[in-house]
Amino acid sequence: MKRCNLLLRSVAAAAVVGAAGFSAPALAEDLTIAVGAEATSIDPHFHNLGPNNQLGFQIFDRLANPDERQNFEPGLAVSWAPIDDTTWEFKLREGVKFHDGSDFNADDVICTFERAPNVPNSPAGFSTYTKGKTFVKVDDYTVHVKTDAPYPLMVNDLGNVAIVSNETGCDASTEDYNSGKAAAGTGPYKFVEYVPGDRIVLAANHDYWGEKPTWETVTIKPIKSGPSRVAALLAGDVDVIASVPTTDIETLKGRDDVTLSQGVSNRVIYLHIDQFREASPFVKANGGGDIKNPLMDKRVREAISKAISRELIRDRVMEGLSIPAGQLLPEGFFGVSENLKPDAYDADAAKALLAEAGVPDGFELTIHGPNDRYVNDAKIVEAIAQMLTRVGIKTQVETLPRSVYFSRASSGADGLPEFSLILVGWGAGSGEASSPLRALIATNDKDKGMGTANRGRYSNPEVDKVIEEALAEVDDEKRAGLLAKATEMAIGDYAIIPVHYQVNTWASRKGLKYIPRTDEYTVAYGVVKE
């Protein structure tokens, strides 16, 4: 059931390691990692949030563990396959022990999937991955998962849920995990200490069933301010830092005591365009009068796409750390189209398209974006505004803290998205094109659970049909084809305008390097010696 091995383009000038080859022997060495965002809990089921998941990756295993390119490798399940249309069989790994000493078997799996969706006070739990599924223990090392309809994304779903111990973990509260009482997983590192705001300490699990851990003790420190994080590395206080600010990369490259590791992420930065109302709140005629929303015209959307020089943004805003995007996921991911290329910058064509659409002198527009969410988000918004202004669309910029931004961008005063043109990002958690397609492109439909983040309210029934077909197609090859087809149709409509894929950078002291992950996570087992 393993998917075709994805080959992601690694970025030039980057020290990217090929396959996950660890230098084998476990030496008594300590590692300190500085990350930008702190885990809010040790409980792996409390909040489905990047920092929490990346911590959980080190302490816990999943039935299938995503590798650094989000391919699912056998984890606590050694194999899985559908045995009929609505049942998947998972064969479990034998001889695995939890950190608390108890043995791993099917009971742990069953009780994990009972606990995961039901953690009290959880601000965003894991029911997303468990709903509609029934878990049945067949024997100690076999579990069946049943659904009502054929469900191809079984492994992608279950690969997100950390397996906890039936003995200590399943009945424990979130506080029990934070205190360490219940924080026993099967992963390569054991939980040692959690000092909120300051550090989380892990220790090697020498009995790990997989690759033996390289580091005896791992300390993870949250340092939110980018320059401070870089300074901590330069001062020798930490060994590895995550999310190196793009502004510092040139300097770090020039130093011979620092190694940089870079890799593309699963995150696309794109523009969502209001294309569902005749009067869009932040679109005005030249001079400020009312105007029929020109963004509903595909030619205008195309003009916007062509007015944006993605290369210039890459070179001058991202300092080389982005890849111009032409679709929803970078090439190499499952379900992407091979035919789509990023729109080339062509100001004349953009102006011609505007003229064709009946707005030769452009119009007035405000573009909104967050200023504390994505890498250089506010700067990208400003650069795009400059470019649109140059082709005649007089663009104002309003960047907001995410606390204000996402609420208004999703549902404003009347429950509808409030803005006209917005910059957003989307990271495909499942590692395939179905994730952005169903959330961003599909028609907003609460009952079907589709188009949840479709903040431009693009709606095309034909595209919807292909997406739904893909979501029910168990045959991987056919599904990939359907996903690519849906992507091509939507991008052809300029449902959204992709800008670029983020490229992430880790920096480490000389002698170490990091195996970049497409899910942007920073984990101790990804730090290897050069």
Partner: protein
């Protein structure tokens, strides 16, 4: 509030001082002021900064707010680079491609007006509230002073964020946020000096003459509380500018396409260890010069206005 609290009341600076005699000739004041050559220099510098800031649209090589002339193509050019349009960026460009010299000139204008506007409004609001509290006393005073407590414990960031959410971004909104964040300091200062003043004989005399409360407060007590207010005012104005920078640093400041000096510095923060020193150093220097000159002038004013220090 929040983060930088330089300009709080100090009992000493806020100590009740008799107002300078009304008939004191301006000439005497000026010559006293000019006593310190340093202060004179600061005053001249301040005047120069004001003029330059005021004339920014005329003298700046670029309109840094016009998105049609600013391009990321020119981003992060070092000082002295000539660009395609044929003029030289003497101080380099920032991360969005704005000419730094122009941005600083325009930014000064915004920062100074934001600082002055919020300072003056907060001063008037705080002054009125503080005077009333001290004069009326009793429950009213208790109520007012508890509101002051409330205000002092409310972080400016949250004020700014709430205003941002309700009203959007803009210079006027940031002025409101700064006023809300600062009036309480003035209220506390004025109240402290007015409390002492209202027990003085001249107030009793005025009351026994049957003068209206408003007249007593504004014509008699207020003039005697002015000196400390002016001093707190100069410090608070400087503080307002720095506070605006901090708000920008936290992402709730001014619109990014129309940067103030504070926003330029906040933007420069991420470049501080990148080797592109000019993006953070030049705006910082401009801010420093402005605030130092404002405060030197303020210090000298305080000394000149304080009769107990007259030689």
């Amino acid at each position: 509030m929040a983060v930088t609290d330089a300009g709080k009341t100090s009992p000493i600076e806020a100590a009740p001082l008799p107002a300078p005699p009304a008939e004191a000739p301006l000439k005497r004041f000026l010559s006293d002021f000019a006593d310190s050559r340093l202060a004179l220099g600061a005053a001249l510098l301040l005047a120069a900064i004001m003029i330059v800031a005021f004339l920014a649209p005329v003298i700046a090589p670029q309109d840094p707010y016009d998105l049609a002339t600013v391009s990321v193509l020119d981003a992060r050019l070092p000082p002295g680079t000539e660009n395609f349009a044929g003029y030289t960026h003497w101080l380099g460009t920032d991360g969005a491609g704005r000419d730094l010299l122009s941005a600083i000139l325009y930014g000064l204008r915004i920062s100074i007006s934001v600082g002055l506007a919020s300072g003056v409004i907060a001063l008037f609001v705080g002054m009125a509230v503080g005077l009333v509290a001290a004069y009326v006393g009793g429950r009213t005073e208790g109520l007012i002073m508890r509101v002051v407590d409330l205000q002092l414990s409310f972080p400016a960031v949250l004020v700014a964020l709430i205003l941002l959410a309700i009203l959007g971004k803009g210079i006027d909104k940031i002025v409101i946020a700064l006023v809300v964040a600062q009036w309480a300091y003035y209220a506390r200062t004025v109240r402290a000096s007015a409390l002492v003043e209202r027990r003085r004989e001249y107030v009793e005399a005025a009351q026994s003459l049957g003068l209206s409360h408003a007249r007593i407060i504004f014509r008699h007590i207020l003039p005697n509380c002015l000196a400390p207010l002016i001093v707190v005012g100069t410090v608070q104005t400087a503080h307002a500018i720095a506070l605006e920078a901090t708000l920008s640093f936290l992402g709730v400041g001014l619109p990014q396409t129309e940067p103030s000096l504070g926003l330029l510095i906040a933007n420069g923060f991420e470049y501080m260890i990148s080797g592109k020193y000019w993006i953070s150093v030049f705006p910082g220097l401009a801010l420093l010069l402005t605030i130092v000159s404002i405060n030197m002038v303020g210090d000298q004013l305080r000394d000149v206005l304080n009769p107990r220090l007259q030689k």
